[in-house]
């Protein structure tokens, strides 16, 4: 039921929102998060971000994350889109949408989806700087903490 996509191409968030709610009158709220490439990596300017993933496992992991959210919050719509390849500052990387009858479920599910997508789906980011250097982005303990809170608290 969820929409899961891994793609190089950009996406149209307005169209994704419209697709989730098309023809429905049971949705009361849609939460959304869009992640974008920032141009600063500490004190070095970023020329591009390279997104690597594990084809096959990625889609499987995303489908599982979506299924868990749909079940926990009785979602009426759920979309996960993650881009891969070379992206430049200002471009979108990721988009999650969660539609529910009530606002709190939509907002909580949105936070859950992006927290788990960041920690439980096989994507890796490499920053490529304008000075020619490149660095793999390190995982943040805070991301793991954000993700872990959904293990303990069932809504």
């Amino acid at each position: 039921m969820a929409t899961i996509r891994v793609q190089q191409a950009d996406f149209d968030i307005g169209a994704e929102l419209a697709a989730v709610s098309a023809g429905r009158t049971d949705i009361g709220g849609i939460g959304c998060f869009v992640g974008t490439v920032r141009g600063d990596g500490g004190d070095r300017a970023i020329a591009a971000m390279l997104l690597e993933h594990y084809p096959g496992m990625t889609e499987r992991a995303m489908a599982r994350i979506a299924a868990q959210a749909e079940q926990r919050w009785a979602l009426l719509g759920c979309t996960l889109i993650h881009r891969v390849g070379r992206l430049t500052p200002g471009e979108t990387i990721v988009c999650v949408l969660a539609a529910a009858a009530h606002r709190q479920a939509a907002l909580d599910a949105t936070a859950f989806l992006i927290d788990w997508l960041k920690t439980r789906a096989p994507f890796w980011k490499k920053e490529i700087f304008t000075d020619g250097g490149e660095v793999w982005v390190e995982a943040h303990a805070t991301d793991e903490d954000s993700a872990a809170r959904w293990d303990e608290n069932t809504p």
Binding site: V94, K118, P122, W124, K125
Partner: protein, 89 residues
């Protein structure tokens, strides 16, 4: 999945870069029954392997495209992937 008697090993992100390979098929080493066993065997292959697998951040693993702990079983025919902690989103 790999062929009979073999494992398909995949490496991602900086682990792929350090090992200089993204994928290889190896005969299931004798005595290897778990991810942990496999890691020990991999480290024994060369100093570069030992260094890569003991790098600052603990290497993560998936067996047949599911996250796997060190005590997870591996068997001939499995696809085993190693990678750094994920950083998507």
């Amino acid at each position: 999945m790999a062929g009979p008697g073999t494992l398909r090993l995949l490496y991602f992100a900086w682990l792929r870069e350090r090992l200089g390979t993204a994928e290889e098929v190896v005969a299931l080493p004798e005595g290897v029954a778990t991810v942990g066993d496999l890691l020990i065997w991999l480290c024994s292959r060369s100093p570069a392997h030992a260094e890569a697998f003991s790098a600052a951040f603990r290497v993560r693993c998936a067996v047949n495209q599911e996250f796997a702990a060190p005590d997870a079983p591996v068997a001939a025919g499995d696809e085993v992937a190693f990678f750094p902690p994920v950083t998507g989103g």
